[in-house]
């Protein structure tokens, strides 16, 4: 090979790297290992994690311990789906393109909006992407966002907004849902988008249509983040006036994976199609009249539009979106609805059981589907540690860090894997931990008022 190239050694090929820039030593990394050795090393690391097989998982906050059917892996692990790249040559990518088309159809059905893309990275950055779209569509640079929207989404939006030169205004919650009066007050003619989430971070179902009126009045886009697993039973954002419906796709066909990879779904009205971020598969025919699929409206994208692209995204999360489609096909129309009903009923049961525990109160009484918030009369972190150590249960997500007004708050999530027995055990465990904590700390486990020694 060297002869064909016309050099004596491979080192000659690196001559274009100026001498001072040649590393000249080995990387300070361990030597390569055998496959078995790598496996052992990774298994040892995995063993030091308390995963959902070790600790019963009631933690949600956007990602949920659902049962992902075996066929998802069987299909997504196929070489033909796992190893190609983006379908730039459609003639040999009909598998991927048709899968995208089917996925887009499914997400459109779930959200009630006619246009879906083939997916973005995940939930929170999709909210930021909606902000970018809204700026392009309205010419305004102000976002009004409910504190019911996932804290990670709000934080991500704030980060991106610095680049957009946009202002972000937050509206608080009242009784677990967005304060409608405060929202109406906050929206003005300079608002590009009103951003809501339903169910919101505290698990409450929001009246998106009513809240969205403020957006319509001022010509702002209504952007709604949704939990896709609830869309089998909840009225879809598209039927409630949303211009954009998006969210974290993980519950559909994807593992927890310590937070990723998953995917973000992103749907919009017909009018916004040319402003959509990301890949979109479209149907067409080939020269012989055969039905086929291609990447449509590519002029929106970075590889053509460059600095004027609707987004900078290139690699997205195609394989994860495929997993979602397979899961949805496996559930099917009836199964998806039934699963939603199951979640709602088990959650209602869990909420009732926990509300009945001494030292536990509901944080709000708004309707919920699969997640709800409670208040503990004992330090939340301590209760969580006790319940985990003594009962092997991950009891929920502590609200205090992101909602300082709910320092005593805990978010509890339900999936179809959380059996009645596990829910009963959770209630018992929390009850015991709260009581134990109260016995140590004295009768009041709440913070002493300021100024008292």
């Amino acid at each position: 090979m060297l002869a064909a190239i016309g050099v004596d050694s491979v080192a000659d090929l690196f001559e274009q790297v100026p001498e001072p820039l040649r590393l000249g030593r080995s990387l300070e990394l361990p030597a390569g290992m055998s496959e078995a050795g790598v496996y052992e090393r990774l298994a040892a690391l995995a063993a030091r994690n308390a995963d959902a097989e070790e600790e019963v998982c009631f933690v949600g906050a956007g990602m949920y311990d659902h049962y992902v059917p075996a066929i998802v892996d069987a299909i997504t692990q196929r070489s033909e789906f796992l190893t190609p790249y983006t379908p730039y040559q459609p003639e040999i990518s009909q598998g991927g393109l048709q899968a995208m088309f089917e996925f887009q159809t499914a997400m459109s059905e779930l959200t009630g909006l006619p246009v879906s893309n083939a997916g973005l990275y995940e939930g929170p950055s999709s909210v930021a992407s909606a902000g970018y779209l809204a700026i392009g569509a309205t010419g305004s640079r102000r976002f009004v966002v409910s504190r019911g929207v996932h804290p990670h989404s709000r934080e991500t939006l704030a980060t991106y907004a610095v680049g957009f030169g946009a202002e972000v205004v937050e509206v608080g919650l009242e009784g677990g849902v967005t304060d409608a009066a405060a929202l109406a007050e906050a929206v003005d003619g300079e608002t590009a988008a009103v951003i809501l989430q339903s169910p919101n971070f505290l698990g409450a179902v929001e009246d998106v249509e009513a809240l969205g009126a403020a957006a319509k009045e001022h010509g702002a886009l209504l952007v709604v983040a949704a939990d896709p697993m609830t869309l089998g039973i909840l009225r879809p954002p598209g039927e409630q006036g949303a211009d954009v419906a998006l969210g974290e796709g993980q519950p559909l066909g994807n593992r927890l994976d310590f937070g990723g990879p998953s995917f973000g779904f992103f749907c919009a009205t017909e009018e916004l199609i040319r402003r959509m971020p990301g890949r979109i598969a479209g149907e067409t025919d080939d020269v012989d009249g055969r039905r086929g699929f291609v990447l449509a409206l590519q002029t929106r994208e970075q590889h053509i539009r460059r600095e004027k692209a609707t987004h900078n995204i290139c690699t997205a999360q195609a394989l994860n979106a495929l997993g979602a489609m397979i899961h949805l096909a496996w559930l099917g129309r009836e199964g998806f609805r039934e699963l939603g009903e199951l979640l709602a009923r088990r959650t209602a049961y869990a909420r009732e059981r926990l509300a009945a525990v001494d030292g536990v109160e509901l944080l709000h009484e708004a309707p919920v589907v699969r997640e709800f918030a409670i208040r503990l009369e004992a330090p939340v972190e301590r209760v969580l540690a006790t319940v985990a150590a003594e009962r092997g249960i991950a009891a929920g997500y502590p609200l205090g860090r992101e909602y300082p007004e709910h320092e005593d708050g805990l978010l509890v999530a339900i999936t179809e894997r959380r059996t009645r027995a596990q829910i009963d055990a959770l209630a018992e465990a929390i009850g015991a931990a709260v009581a134990e904590s109260g016995a140590i700390v004295g009768n009041s486990a709440t913070k002493a008022p300021e100024g008292v020694g």
């Binding site: 040319r274 590519q298 002029t299 053509i304 539009r305 004027k308």
Partner: protein, 129 residues
């Protein structure tokens, strides 16, 4: 339109745009060369009626499947009409670039600018060079 043509009654801008002067108003579009280079037009993004456009500056975009092209104004003026028909039939820009494929009609703000445009023969020379 199959064969290259550059009507004599039009004036041309080096960025491959034409103008048909009609008293105080003018109609603009892109030339045969421009539509041929672009390929089949799939989308036209027009300016608003009432917008001010400036000579030599981009006032609209025309898209094919694989490319986006700025459309350059041959003359300055105020937009009085936009070819709405192109929304449903953008291919008119390819099939009839000087007729049904017109892009905007403007009220000219500086007649003197017309002198700076090329005649059909000079534009053809520019293409050959």
């Amino acid at each position: 339109m199959a064969d290259a043509s550059y009507p004599d009654d039009l004036r041309y801008h080096p960025e491959h745009d034409w103008a048909r002067i009609d008293g105080e108003e003018a109609t603009f579009g892109i030339t045969w060369y421009a539509q041929d280079s672009l390929g089949e037009v799939v989308f036209y993004d027009p300016p608003e009626v009432g917008a001010t456009i400036a000579k030599d500056a981009a006032y609209a975009e025309v898209e094919s499947v694989k490319a986006v092209s700025d459309v350059i104004a041959p003359l300055s003026g105020e937009v009085v009409a936009v070819n709405e028909g192109l929304a449903d039939a953008p291919e008119r820009v390819n099939d009839d670039p000087y007729g049904e494929g017109w892009l905007v009609r403007v009220r000219l703000t500086d007649q003197a600018e017309v002198e700076g445009l090329l005649g059909a023969a000079d534009y053809r020379d520019l293409l050959d060079s």
